[in-house]
Amino acid sequence: MKIQRYLLIVIPYLWLLALFLVPFAIIFKISLSDIAISIPPYTPTFDWSDGFAGLSALISEFDFENFIFLTDDDLYWKAYLSSVQIAAIATFFTLLIGYPIAYAIANMPDQWRPTLIMLIILPFWTSFLIRVYAWIGILGQEGFLNQFLIWLGIIDAPLVILNTNIAVYIGIVYTYLPFMILPIYSTLEKMDGSLLEAAQDLGCSRFEGFWLVTWPLSRPGIIAGCFLVFIPTLGEFVIPSLLGGSNTLMIGKVLWEEFFSNRDWPVASAVAIILLLILIIPIILFQRNEQRLREQQGE
């Protein structure tokens, strides 16, 4: 009985150990190493045959040089900062567009809701890469959007959207919109309709009722949605590299370049470790929000 219970707990921990802690430890080890022209491209490496002596020799060669390097070159902290900024702005726009959609779906007649939610999820059935590539075709100089606007006569010359930060925002908002809509929808959909009637009964106009009752009650969904968009956006690599321009600075892109262009694994690993540390803060906040939500529902 007791063993079964431990087994049950051990499985998720094994999962976490194998797929998070071990890779993290390896990356951390590489980040403390030095670049070398060899395979693998860093030194020192650990030879199992040397045993304990080899391990201590290995540790003695570790240093924080790469982390110090990150603070020397302003490219890195600018990339971190710019990533946070882009992620925050994109999250804000996702909320701005996602909330009304979630609100509208939650207020639809019952028989329509599953279909509409299906439509929100449907794009996931196509490859993420293909969908981002499709935006190149839409946003380019000769793209559909420019052709359409010129045909309408709104503009004379094509707008430069592709390879700018605007294209990155459009790509992020488009890609992550469902992650914003679904948690907000689920809080709105659970809301008791008589609460709004009670608010009206006590003297609220429709707008006041929304602002004083619906909005605060959907806050857990808003917070969850914002984190679900913000966290993956912060390390996003595909969207800025496909839609962004040369001056779009995001840490995911820097990371990729360090690994594949510079082949500097130790610095790339250091960048990844710092990114993880930055991400841990919003992830912990997100978990606490979820916890609170569960407690509230478990009344």
Binding site: D192, S194, L195, E197, A198, A199, Q200, D201, L202, G203, C204, S205, E208, L212, V213, P216, L217, R219, Q296, E299
Partner: protein, 381 residues
Amino acid sequence: MNTIEQYIASSPWDDPAETPFISFKNVTKRFGSFTAVNNIDLNIYKGEFFALLGPSGCGKTTLMRMLGGFENLSEGTIKIDGQDMAGIPPNKRPVNMMFQSYALFPHLTVEENIAFGLQRDKLPKADIAARVDEMINLVQLNKFAKRKPHQISGGQKQRVALARSLAKAPKLLLLDEPLGALDKKLRQETQFELMDIQEKLGTTFVIVTHDQEEAMTVASRVALMDQGQFVQIDTPSNIYEMPQSSYVADFIGDINLINGAVKSKNDENGTVSVNWAESQLPITGATHQTLASDQKCVFAIRPEKISLSKTEPDNIANKFKGKILDIAYLGNMSTYNIELASGHLLKSQIANSRRLSKREFTWNDEVWVSWTETAGLVLDK
């Protein structure tokens, strides 16, 4: 305060010269092809505790929601305090409602819930605080003022909901099945509390309930509804003692109903004799209806008005022989199911004024059932 009580005690509904506080005129409400409320007229007077009673789906909740402004009328007019309510949204009506689900705001504390309506009126902060305190004292929730709704019990939630709906001192308070979620004991206590509060404040209360006992306990008048129309509007005692149809008689309390036909009328005291079974003496009962001879009718009598005796009773209009089939012991009283020689079943309720061991009757005893000539009612079918 006393004047409101005196006013209600004077039965203003019997006086056509009185102006009603709420009036419904030819009110109809349809949902698609379904008619929830069908051409209703109703007057409710100031300070009344008016109960809308009926089975679920009878239109009582719709009627109340129209008063609150949550449903538009299909036809007709509703006036509150002389003002036509057409097109006036809920937030502009002098009405507050206590919702069946209580509808407490889960993100606000007890205090904030009660203050919610007052803050909408943009009252000064000190006035709001004073009023909230007063309300919290009224419903005795001082200890729970800072708690959130999910941290208090069902009974406490119900009192918060009541306090919140009373905080704005509405002219009219609507209560939608307010005590449905409470257990019996708490419900009874709360019913008396409600009546106390109503007497203290003199507010007009309209309560919707499907619980006839609740309606009887709290209300000054009860309107019994069925299929979107009123079946009878009367004081609790009249509705119990003088139901106008067998539907009302059957809905309110326990009753024995026996089908029969009018045999003769006794003009002297207004009683009617009813043929009800072959080779049995007719039953005599009172009536407030005009009945023709040989007309089909129902004889209705409450179980507590039927006496049991071991020997044949003297000087009583109705007496029949029967056999006790079962006895249900309810503590304060017992219900006896008696089969008459004709095969009819009658229920008789006798107060248990003696200890159980001293009980006179037991299963399968031959007994006499009897009642006076005015104990039962003859109603047309």
